[in-house]
Amino acid sequence: MTALLELSGVTAFYGASQALFGIDLSLNEGEAVALMGRNGMGKTTTIKTICRMMEHRDGLIRFAGQDLARMPSHKAARLGLGLVPEGRRCFARLSVMENLIAAARPGEWDFDRVAGLFPRLAERRDQKAMTLSGGEQQMLAIGRALMTNPRLLILDEATEGLAPVVRQEIWAAINQLKQSGLTILVVDKSLKELSGVADRYVVVEKGVTAWTGAVNELTDELADRYLGV
């Protein structure tokens, strides 16, 4: 079986300074993988190269059977990469409904299904995104990515800075998405919640894939070494 997403030996630079030194990562259809590592280790950079917001230098990135090198960002998105970016970034002056419609592409995900996943969004459908709470904006950002009917949902720090109750709500939704068979790549720091969702962990350290394995293979010792927990 070929992987839906495959990165091998990916390097990337910010100007002259190298951020990624060799990322290997593969994700099969229907799988949920957690990308982990301490701050500044290259998690977000890895995601940026996958989503073509940044060009990689060496190595290979393949998604859905296509080489992503030099592919513009919007084309990669059209192949089925649905990104929920760090810091949410909804279209502040558009309403909830408008945010979702703007992103919509035909498929099984539509407004009703997003509203079913996040009932709070349905209640606030005509409210401007800028008036939503942080948690609701996060739900909207996830909903917007789902409206593109992605083959792979990428969540970058989806619950950062949110209240515990809201975090639980969002993790429950992510779990539901996983159960429905959606392929998910998730970046987060909270091992506890990740262990409930992910099938496998990929740990990056200093821009290199340092460890990869099933969830139950991550021992306390390894967690302490790579994640400092």
Binding site: M53, H74, E98, N99, A103, A145
Partner: protein, 328 residues
């Protein structure tokens, strides 16, 4: 849905806009009808600009190019028709016309092509570069019109008889006003539908966060190019009507003063608001004729007013009256 204050203001504006010329007709004041027609035409040009300026966040300082192209479409086609000289004979015959509908179609097509070319180049830049390059293109067309003697050059081109519209005496001021008002209504309705469509939402989204738009699979450049072309077409249609209103076209319609004026209507009335251009054009014409009749430097207070709007009331006239701050 309850009527909010902006909807109320818009309704009052629309009613006043139609009522004033009708009352003027009763009082036998054709000049006021002509002014109202000018408001309709300027508002239409503003609706065009507002699409890119207000909703796309693209400050085009070259919309006079499209306004003038519309004007010259009317002038050139009419002059050929009146002189019985075909525009070209080979490889196929193209004759002039005095039918507004044909003129509008020509204006729409030519402006769309020119906007496509200008947009494809200028939209690769942003901010002050975009402003300057759109201005540069418009000035190129302006100087071309000045130096092209076939259609009057600097002196412009007269349209001896206002072009016709089936079933309408276009020389009758109120009929011509009605035609312009209906066209404005159609354009505003189209614009309202467009900005609420997925395309319009994507255009607004691309202004607020282009990278996010890319991440959901939409290239901002294409969305903006399409918006730029539609915007130019609306402004060109207004230009064609303006030429018929004055029965005269000249390079003035293409000059950067015209681009500035269109921008002033939009800013005065309310950037990114559906009725902003109508309110702005009406205010501009009223000021021009009230202040202009008492003081030849009437543009000085206009400038002060513009400054006040930009500094303290960025929602423009409609924004102030609706009592809601909505920064563009």
């Amino acid at each position: 849905m309850t009527m909010n204050r902006e909807t109320l203001i818009n309704t009052i504006l629309a009613v006043a806009f139609v009522a004033v010329p009708v009352i003027a007709m009763g009082m036998n004041e054709p000049f006021i009808i002509t002014l109202a027609t000018k408001v309709a035409i300027f508002a239409m040009a503003g609706v065009g600009l507002n699409l890119v300026l207000g909703f796309g966040g693209l400050v085009s300082f070259g919309h006079a190019a499209f306004f003038g192209i519309g004007g010259y479409a009317a002038g050139i086609l009419a002059s050929h028709a009146l002189n019985y000289e075909p525009i070209m004979e080979s490889p196929f015959l193209i004759e002039g016309t005095t039918q507004m509908i044909v003129i509008w179609i020509v204006a729409l097509i030519v402006s769309a092509l020119v906007a496509l070319a200008i947009g494809a180049i200028t939209l690769r830049t942003s901010g002050v570069y975009f402003i300057m390059i759109t201005l540069a293109f418009a000035q190129m067309i302006y100087y071309f019109a000045i130096s092209w003697p076939a259609y009057g050059g600097e002196d412009g081109l007269s349209i001896y008889v206002r072009n016709g519209f089936p079933g309408l005496n276009t020389l009758d001021p109120i009929s011509f006003f009605a035609l312009c008002a209906v066209m404005l209504g159609i354009v505003m309705l189209f614009s309202a539908i467009l900005i609420r469509s997925r395309f319009g939402l994507a255009l607004q989204g691309a202004r607020q966060n282009p990278q996010r738009m890319t991440a959901v699979g939409i290239a901002p450049f294409r969305i903006r190019l399409v918006a730029f072309v539609i915007s130019a077409m609306i402004t060109a249609l207004a230009g064609a009507l303006y030429a018929d209103l004055n029965r005269f076209v000249s390079p003035t319609m293409l000059s950067w003063h015209m681009s500035g004026e269109i921008m002033i209507f939009v800013i005065l009335g309310g950037v990114g608001r559906l009725f902003g251009p109508l309110a702005g054009a009406a205010l501009y014409i009223i000021l021009e004729h009230l202040l202009g009749s008492v003081w030849e430097f009437w543009q000085l207070p206009l400038g002060v007013l513009l400054l006040i709007v930009v500094l303290f009331a960025r929602g423009g006239l409609v924004g102030v009256l609706a009592g809601e701050r909505k920064h563009a």
